[in-house]
Subunit: 336 residues, 2 copies
DNA sequence: CTGAAAGCGCTTACAG
DNA sequence: CTGAAAGCGCTTACAG
């Protein structure tokens, strides 16, 4: 592989000059610049990133951290979408993406991850950070590396407005006349986003005179199967229910299946709502009413925020608006 | 940050010794080894990966390449699954994952990607390589970097047995008594996997006395919407059809929706099959009969193969068996 | 506007 | 079994 030195020789200048021309330092004769650029082409020079990283202290690498906790990260449909947003910004700025999926066991981060953070291999970190007790970004911040949290409460963070999402959902069902609403929830304090969502739902229901804690609830684990099981339980114990409010789309899909098995027509006999607006939500039968949390935007914003930090700025944390997506799975209470 | 030298001083040995102890070179007194390890702990030493990469020529980084061609890579549900398999192997071996999503325009790879490959930043590359004209791995192989293709025909590759998948699917429908089968296809030569699948379907149908080219076909683009549109066209022009064989799950989901809109009961009036077994396939109504191509296994195998190459071995390319998954969307022709 | 030289933090023959 | 020293390929004050 040709090195800087080869280019320097070819161009008849010093390696320092080549280096500076390539990094767009000003103050160069047009002649020198052209000479260098031509030489780069001639010898087919491509910078060695490890060398550059070692001497400059910058790697042009952003680590994206998706911690593995309860719900295996690879089954979370948001992951790919967030990644898409981050990727788009990074490629524009010429940064590369390093993927890290640390295991979090009893709140402890795995050793590999800790080492990686210490290794000096990244200029910044973006983490999916919705697990209250897993401080994925703590070692990053301690090391003084730029860090942006998606879904967490770090110094720099991007959050979807789950509170409003919850209110919108509750309001939507209330407006359709539902008063017998069952909730398919998940354990508390497992996901800060979901906790926010619950707060929003509570507020939305209260605005309509309903008290969340008085409604029938079943606790699932985000999976399709758990949604189906919860729906079965709820509908059996509370046949009067006309709506099932599910804390994510996958559980709603399970509920939809279960309703179908039980011969409950959706939405005529039973309305079902989800949360997330994953791709599959648009193509269930009937299509799912849900809330889109704009994960793509979150990815974009997080990356932009990180670059702002790297540029020495002090960006504001962002709250991203969510969007109620009304589709066929919800309808008037007592409809047909 | 503490460096090797700090550790050496603390332990009262040379940096060479520290380095060798850390890389598990043999021939060391137990005493030295312990002394060094203790010093590492005391000063909190973590190796600088850039420095290590520069001097050793190895980076401990594997690049995973998902080229963007027609179907935006981020909407391909296999991506995350393949990634999961690769990630598992890499974390076991202490390798990090670099994600690259090169754009391929008119068969040309983007410049960033080419530079990345030349940059010496990775020890090996695994590429999703199912686009016939996009030679993602060519620059990698030229540079002499270890490369494994998933879905392509490189020297080292991992392929799902799509041919058998096609045969199984055709056979399944034939056994159910279907003779009026419509095909929801995609343009040819866009994806080597799909081409293989078509060959298998052709063979399977022929074994039952049916000629693929005589069957009604509509051409989609892998998306849900295109599946719905194709189904509409086929069912209108060929009301006698009792089965729709779709080349992927998403189009099958679209077809399912369309059948529902048209009042065709699935599977009583119409059987619908997909391909891929994406997570959503299990929870459509009715659940989709499809073929699981074991993408997780493909990811695992690809990574293992890459490590074998890095270890100086010459592994065999692998063909991964697929699995027919019979669910509720297919049933006897003329059933009820 | 350009260059000589030190240095980034490791690894690796080569000696002993 | 251990160490001195060169070298990986860049960048960056510092001079001029």
């Amino acid at each position: 592989m040709p090195t800087l030195e080869d280019v320097a020789k070819k161009a008849g200048v010093s390696t320092a000059t080549v280096s500076k021309v390539l990094s767009n330092t000003p103050y160069f004769t047009e002649a020198t610049r052209l000479k260098v650029l031509q030489a780069v082409k001639d010898v087919g020079y491509v910078p060695n990133l490890a060398a550059r990283a070692l001497s400059s202290g910058r790697t042009q690498i952003i680590a994206v951290v998706f911690p593995h906790v309860y719900d295996p990260i690879f089954s979370d449909p948001r992951v790919l979408v967030v990644l898409e947003g981050i990727d788009a910004e990074c490629r524009q700025r010429g940064y590369n993406l390093l993927l890290s999926t640390p295991r979090v066991v009893e709140g402890e981060l795995d050793e590999n991850y800790l080492q990686l953070i210490q290794s000096g291999y990244m200029d910044g970190v973006i983490a999916l950070d919705h697990v209250p007790f897993a401080a994925v970004l703590e070692p990053v911040v301690n090391k003084g590396i730029a860090a942006v949290s998606i879904g967490g409460m770090a110094r720099y963070s991007v959050n979807s407005d789950h509170y409003s999402g919850g209110r919108l959902l509750a309001q939507h069902l209330l407006e359709l006349g539902h008063r017998n609403i069952g909730l398919i929830a998940v354990p508390e304090h497992i996901n800060v986003g979901t906790d926010e969502l619950m707060r929003g739902i509570r507020a939305g229901l209260r605005a309509g005179g309903l008290e969340l804690d008085c409604l029938p609830q079943a606790v699932g684990d985000y999976s399709i199967d758990s949604g189906a099981a919860c729906a079965a339980t709820l509908l059996e114990q509370h046949p009067e229910l006309t709506a099932l409010l599910c804390l994510n789309d996958r559980m709603a899909m399970g509920a939809l299946q279960q309703a179908h098995r039980l011969g409950r027509r959706v939405p005529a006999d039973l309305s079902i709502t989800g949360y997330d607006d994953i791709p599959a939500a648009a193509s269930t039968i009937p299509p799912l009413t849900t809330v889109n949390q704009q994960s793509l935007t979150a990815g974009h914003e997080a990356a932009r925020m990180l670059f702002d930090i790297l540029d020495g700025q002090t960006p504001e944390s962002k709250v991203i608006p969510v969007e109620l997506v009304v589709r066929g799975s919800s309808g008037p209470a007592g409809g047909q």
